[in-house]
């Protein structure tokens, strides 16, 4: 469809915050005209009475290839016993006898009877002949069967292969051994998995109104071959993909001719793994305050090298100490290069102090944040409260303070950890459990539209609904600015339009 007329909808153009009832004329991939009443019988016309049109959503933090791969994985988050895990594996194999590898995600011993993970021998009973890899949510631990253990060829001195009293590996790999095993796991996954799941994942994403994503790929938790895969296949997707390679090796960035670096370059870790660097100990482990994975000199060197190479850089910092050290590093380097063009980023920024927010604003940094954390981690005795304690957990993701400092916040799902669902993200930011951290629906919409585009240097073509811009649009069943805030997450995406073409429609 080259010509399309969208009639009678409410438009939130993301320019002035005022929804307007207007018609939109799309000619090929561009918004040709926006006016109060357009009539042209030569155009295919959609009557969108009662609907709301927003710019196509921009998800600024997606691990796309792992999301695609995980489509074949067994979600173990609801498993309550080892028998249940074994039964899930057995079912998976029975339904998919062609599987060459079994992947499981979100495995945690805390949900299991006796709080013990399965052993490799237990996994062998249902999968003696193909590798099994079961990952914990935060990738800290991986549990494998004997077949996988044999295939891994773990290095001699790697930390830490858990062994039983007889010195025999149990199948549980932690820390470095877990990271190493993840790499090998990705190497064992045939590309046919990606091929098979690509369409499923793509449909799930466009169903949520998403037309652009930043795919954060590679790095120590994932695999660099995912970057190659996306470079080769990104044109096969119905949405735009901008690749952010989580490497520290600038030579690789140059070789791939990318204009940005980072994403999940972990300065610190995560709350779930208790390795996000925090100033006060974790509430559920009084001796732990997380860790920094880089020395100050190393992180400064990395930022400086990126800036000297004219790259946009983006680094992961979660805890208040992680954030502070990253701000220190940016500040030091920015002083050396006062004329640099900015738009450098911090990913996550979950537990900043007030002074950190102020400094981030002064430094002109863009923050990529994940409001859905407030939806999924916030339940009573949920991860935030467990790890940080009640009082500190209220300080996470303080969107209001950040917006008040005029900082640009781009919204990201952090898929495959969380689902790709911008409306859920908007809902979570608007309904933040800490009322003082809530932002308006319009501000939350900015995160997933114009701010995402700006963070990716695409604000001239995307992020707002304007004549001459790309016809990337999401058509919603209700207006998030006027509906009951509690119901934003229930708004349906009726159509997703990418480059003027309807790539999804719900009815």
């Amino acid at each position: 469809m080259n010509k399309l007329l969208l009639k009678n909808a409410t438009i939130i153009d993301m320019k002035n915050g005022i929804p307007q009832k207007k018609d939109i004329l799309i000619n090929h991939s561009i918004i040709d005209k926006i006016d109060e009443s357009i009539n042209d019988a030569s155009y295919d016309t959609l009557n969108l009475e009662g609907c709301t049109i927003v710019p196509g959503f921009f998800d600024s933090h997606v691990h796309l290839v792992p999301t695609i791969i995980n489509e074949s994985a067994i979600n173990l988050s609801n498993a309550t016993s080892i028998d249940e895990i074994l039964s899930l594996i057995q079912n998976k194999r029975e339904k998919n006898p062609e599987l060459k590898i079994i992947l499981g995600t979100h495995l945690t011993e805390f949900s299991l009877e006796h709080k013990q993970l399965p052993t490799k021998e237990e996994l062998d009973t249902v999968a003696p002949d193909i590798p099994v890899f079961l990952s914990s949510t935060e990738f800290h631990t991986i549990t494998v069967n004997s077949f996988a253990l044999h295939k891994l060829k773990l290095p001699l001195t790697i930390d830490r292969i858990i062994k039983n009293d007889a010195g025999v590996p149990t199948g549980q790999l932690k820390n470095e051994a877990s990271i190493y095993a993840r790499k090998k796991m990705y190497e064992m996954i045939p590309e046919t998995y990606q091929k098979k799941n690509l369409e499923i994942v793509q449909n799930k994403i466009i169903k949520k109104g998403v037309t652009s994503i930043i795919a954060i790929e590679g790095g120590y938790l994932f695999h660099n071959k995912h970057v190659d895969y996306l470079l080769k296949n990104k044109n096969k997707f119905a949405f735009d993909i901008s690749i952010l390679f989580s490497t520290t090796n600038l030579q690789k960035i140059k070789a791939y001719q990318l204009n940005k670096i980072g994403g999940d370059i972990f300065l610190d870790g995560s709350f779930a793994s208790r390795n996000a660097a925090v100033s006060k100990p974790y509430s559920d482990s009084k001796n732990e305050k997380g860790k920094l994975f880089f020395t100050q000199a190393e992180i400064e060197e990395l930022i400086e090298d990126a800036i000297k190479s004219n790259l946009q850089i983006s680094i992961h910092a979660v805890g208040d100490i992680g954030i502070e050290k990253l701000l220190d590093a940016y500040e030091t380097v920015f002083k050396k290069y006062p004329t640099i063009k900015s738009r450098h980023k911090i990913e996550h920024f979950e537990l900043p102090k007030d002074e950190h927010i102020k400094r981030a604003g002064e430094l002109g940094l863009i923050l990529t944040m994940h409001p859905t954390y407030e939806y999924f981690f916030r339940e009573k005795n949920g991860m935030y409260e467990n790890r940080l304690g009640k009082e500190r957990a209220l300080q996470t993701n303080p969107f209001r303070k950040i917006y008040d400092e005029k900082i640009i916040v781009a919204g990201g799902s952090d898929s495959n950890v969380m689902p790709v669902d911008p409306l859920l993200g908007i809902h979570a930011a608007v309904n933040h459990p800490n009322k003082t951290s809530r932002i308006t629906p319009y501000e939350a919409l900015q995160m997933y539209t114009i701010n995402g585009a700006y963070g990716n240097f695409e604000e001239k073509t995307k992020g707002t609904i304007e004549e001459g811009k790309k016809a990337d649009l999401a058509i919603l069943s209700a207006n998030p600015m006027t509906c009951d805030p509690d119901t934003i997450k229930d708004i349906d995406v009726l159509y997703t339009i990418k480059n003027g073409r309807i790539v999804y429609q719900s009815r």
């Binding site: 003696p128 044999h150 001699l156 470095e176 990271i179 190493y180």
Partner: protein
């Protein structure tokens, strides 16, 4: 490479390859393809563990989840099958020995050769040459029964895992010790080859990188050492998101700093060789490596240019010894052009009472009268020079005699004396003298 004989028997020769791909030969005829996976595993287990085994235990290792009777029956069948296949090739002797009804072992009377034995024989000895190294790595060309795994024999699989790790460790530890030996005996090329071989085997093991860096450093290839550190740092960061230890980092930083100094020194050296504006150039540093670098550079320079070299031979000179050494060297250099009377006046004072002022004046006159175009004097180590000779340098400068003799001096500041320091302080602002500090 021929494997070692294990037994004295001569009726049957069982040759096994257990490193890399598993293979069995009876009297040089391949047996492997005629055996089931379980039989191959069983045969391997009995060959590696040559002691007597209870059949019941073997049955349990290989048919873990089977009922006892069924497991025993399977074991019997497997043993029968191996025997049958072996007998097709050689039926002169039973490959197994039934010690009793309930036990079994590999027949100790057969001749058994194994690449594992060859491997263990080798690691009892030191490697001496590159050829020996190449042959040794050919022996360990893969892992113990590489990729062999029996789906329903978990205990056997655990055993394989353990054995593999064990042989890998032995291979690693042996090669690592050999690498260190070659490093300590300055057989640096071989040490480099060995340490580089070990990296893929244990890619995050800092000890390998540490020794590799030291080896390159000893081979005066700091660039390679620095490159190795960077590769290690990059590997750790990209694959495990960790930093190298402080220990290896500090070695790198020291090398880097010396490298930068060397580069600076080299630049200065090059400037020096072209620069005729200075009558005396002093390179001062506390780095042994830089001193060594200068020495190497100027020794080469001296081979291709007409120069006088002092303190080439180490040792602190006695009072005035440096002056006489310099005079003698000049005498040889100038040969028949020398005014013999002044020369005699100087050298005669070696055995008589020295009038210092008269000696200095004679030396000045000697060079003024005999040298037509400037001669360069290289002092490789200023601290070997006696104080009186240092006084002479000062005297010559005041007498404008450095137009005839130019000095290039290397000074290790760790060995500085008050007299040397005084010289450096006094001359540091003089236009005709350049002091480089590294």
């Amino acid at each position: 490479m021929d494997a070692l004989s294990i037994s004295l028997g001569d009726n049957m020769h069982l040759k096994v390859n257990l490193i890399g791909r598993m293979d069995f030969f009876i009297d040089n005829t391949l047996l492997t393809h005629n055996l089931s996976e379980k039989s191959k595993g069983l045969l391997t287990y009995l060959i590696v563990n040559k002691e007597i085994h209870y059949r019941k235990k073997l049955a349990n290792i290989f048919w873990t989840d089977f009922k006892t009777e069924s497991a025993n029956r399977n074991l019997r069948h497997s043993l029968w099958n191996i025997r049958k296949e072996v007998k097709k090739i050689n039926d002169s002797i039973d490959i197994f020995q039934n010690v009793s009804k309930t036990t079994i072992q590999i027949n100790p009377k057969i001749t058994l050769t194994s690449d594992l034995s060859t491997f263990y024989d080798q690691i009892q000895k030191d490697l001496l040459t590159h050829q020996e190294y190449s042959e040794f790595v050919k022996v360990y060309h893969g892992e113990f029964i590489e990729n062999f795994y029996i789906n329903d024999s978990p205990e056997f699989n655990n055993w394989i895992y353990y054995e593999r790790e064990h042989y890998r460790k032995d291979y690693f530890n042996y090669l690592f010790s050999q690498g260190k030996k070659f490093y300590s005996t300055s057989q640096l090329k071989l040490a480099q080859i060995i340490f580089n071989t070990l990296i893929p085997l244990d890619p995050y093991n800092e000890k390998i990188y540490y020794y590799l860096m030291k080896t390159y450093e000893a081979a005066k290839n700091k660039s390679a050492a620095i490159k190795i550190y960077k590769e290690y740092k990059n590997t750790l960061r990209e694959e495990l998101n960790i930093s190298p230890s402080i220990k290896i980092k500090s070695i790198y930083e020291k090398m880097l700093s010396n490298k930068q100094l060397e580069r600076k020194a080299t630049t200065s050296t090059l400037k020096l060789s072209q620069h005729k504006n200075y009558q005396m150039i002093i390179h001062a540093t506390n780095s042994e490596e830089i001193i060594e670098h200068f020495k190497t550079h100027y020794l080469t320079y001296a081979k291709n240019n007409t120069v006088v070299e002092l303190t080439k031979i180490p040792g602190r000179r006695l009072h005035y010894e440096g002056i006489f050494e310099l005079t003698t060297e000049l005498k040889y250099l100038l040969e028949d052009r020398v005014n013999t009377q002044i020369l005699k006046n100087i050298l005669n004072q070696r055995t008589g009472k020295i009038n210092e002022y008269s000696l200095f004046l004679d030396f000045k006159n000697f060079i003024h009268n005999n040298i037509s175009s400037p001669i360069t004097v290289i002092i490789y180590n200023l601290s070997y020079i006696d104080e009186k000779t240092i006084d002479l340098l000062s005297f010559l400068y005041r007498q404008k005699s450095l137009e005839y003799l130019n000095f290039i001096i290397c000074h290790n500041t760790q060995w500085s004396t008050n007299r040397i320091q005084f010289l450096l302080d006094a001359f540091k602002n003089e236009n005709n003298i350049k002091i480089y500090n590294y």
